[in-house]
């Protein structure tokens, strides 16, 4: 890889997704890098692609943003044409098809699609070539994921409540931010439950000690 292209890439990242009792937590840190430079200290890495579906991104910023825009459009069209919201599984399958169709010139990304539909809460991890796997409990992507997994595997409990899930997500990200040079700055948390897609504001995060 040449110097120019590596400078366009946001390689280091940590994202996590957790299924709790009544929904999904999606959380990311906010560092974007260009080689060894921290290009941004408040990068957006969680996108709302449908009413109750979010997508976290890791990898090339441009690729991730383009995919987020395309998925938003596809989900909107699905919802309006069919008069019902797209399921998390359908959105992941669609994304998987989109990525696999470009496998010879791939989008440089690692994604998590998570949300709530008629069947309940679910999360999918989707790779650059379109490999989509449904995860039952937790998933993490990006260069900081090994550190995040250490915490998640240790502390995750099935059917945990929302507050516990949010603090576990934050705890796992903090671990990653301490030991992964590609992750740092701040944390972004989204909770998706039956009745809401909620992105925590700075103030709300300050209340829970961030």
């Amino acid at each position: 890889m040449n110097a120019t292209s590596s400078q366009e890439i946001m390689q280091g990242t940590t994202t996590v997704a957790i299924i709790f009792q009544s929904g999904v937590v999606l959380a990311t840190e906010k560092r974007a890098t260009m080689g060894s430079l921290i290009a941004s200290k408040k990068a957006k890495k969680v996108y709302q692609i449908s009413d109750r579906i979010g997508m976290t991104t890791a990898g090339g910023v441009g690729d991730a943003q383009q995919l987020a825009r395309m998925m938003t459009v596809e989900c909107n069209l699905f919802n309006i044409r069919r008069g019902k919201s797209i399921s998390v599984s359908a959105a992941s399958t669609l994304l998987s098809n989109l990525l696999n169709a470009n496998r010879y010139f791939p989008y440089y990304v690692q994604l998590i699609v998570g949300g709530i539909d008629e069947k309940g809460a679910s999360i999918y991890s989707v790779d650059a070539l379109g490999g989509a796997t449904q995860e039952e409990e937790i998933v993490s992507t990006g260069s900081g994921s090994p550190m995040a997994y250490g915490v998640l595997e240790d502390r995750y409990v099935k059917d945990m409540n929302e507050a516990d899930a949010v603090s576990l997500a934050i705890r796992s990200l903090k671990s990653a931010m301490r030991r992964d040079a590609g992750s740092g700055e701040g944390i972004n948390v989204v909770v998706i439950a039956k009745d809401r897609y909620h992105e925590f504001s700075e103030e709300e995060l300050a209340i829970i000690g961030l």
Binding site: R81, R82, S87, S89, A90, N97
Partner: protein
């Protein structure tokens, strides 16, 4: 001798007549009106489709006439009008179901499929170079736990019915349904009602070989065509009553 330059509003399908009609589309509807009778009924536990195959000769193998088609596990259609056109639409419908499965990993919604077919049929009322389909379809299926029954026509109009008929016997069938339809009826009495309506429409000229029945239950969401012996059972019941 002056050449005649008279505008024929029934030649090109894309041209409106001065009173706002598309003659080719109306002629296509006429092809359906002359087609064999097909009917659909929603009942308590699902939907049924019944068609009259109109076997014109004792030399004809009745099994070679097919007017009820399975489209996907949860959808079936009955056709009236040009059979060749119907088969082409059926193939398209089957492909749309598989496209939806591949794209979203989900069964296609019956309404979504019906709309897709109608969108396709509509293009032949607007763009030149081809004629409209001379076929109407009854699309029966189950989506999200509900039985659905749609009727399409060559113009691309889509309507949902509790019970309806297409083809030459439509007026007779609708008359019977208007009087006797009951949405809480069970399978046996709904098939009987359908056969009675078909009996009226065909002036009694049908037997086991000329009737085809397809059904889908809301609970199983699995479309099935009845075997000859199952159909025979129903026809006998109707004839004995």
């Amino acid at each position: 001798m002056q050449p005649q330059y008279q505008m024929g509003y029934d030649r090109a399908i894309t041209v409106f007549s001065p009173d706002g009609r598309l003659y080719q589309v109306e002629y296509a509807r006429e092809a359906v009106k002359r087609g064999t009778t097909a009917l659909g009924i929603k009942y308590r536990d699902g939907v049924i489709l019944i068609v009259d195959k109109r076997v014109s000769s004792r030399l004809l193998e009745a099994t070679s006439i097919e007017k009820i088609f399975k489209i996907d596990d949860h959808i079936g259609v009955a056709s009236s009008g040009l059979v060749g056109d119907a088969r082409s639409l059926v193939d398209r419908a089957r492909i749309e179901c598989q496209i939806n499965k591949i794209t979203y990993d989900e069964k296609i919604d019956v309404e979504v499929l019906s709309k897709k077919l109608c969108d396709h049929m509509q293009t032949y009322t607007q763009f030149g170079g081809a004629r409209p389909y001379g076929t109407a379809l009854l699309i029966a299926g189950v989506s999200d736990g509900y039985a659905r029954l749609f009727e399409t026509d060559p113009s691309g109009t889509l309507l949902e019915y509790k019970a309806t008929g297409i083809g030459i016997g439509r007026p007779a069938v609708m008359k019977v349904f208007e009087e006797k339809y009951d949405e809480e009826a069970d399978l046996d009495s709904s098939v009987s009602l359908g056969l009675k309506a078909l009996h009226e429409a065909t002036e009694g000229k049908f037997d086991v070989n000329t009737v085809e029945i397809g059904s889908i239950e809301t609970a199983s969401a699995s479309f099935k065509k009845m075997s000859k012996s199952e159909v025979a059972q129903f026809v006998e019941n109707i004839e004995s009553s």
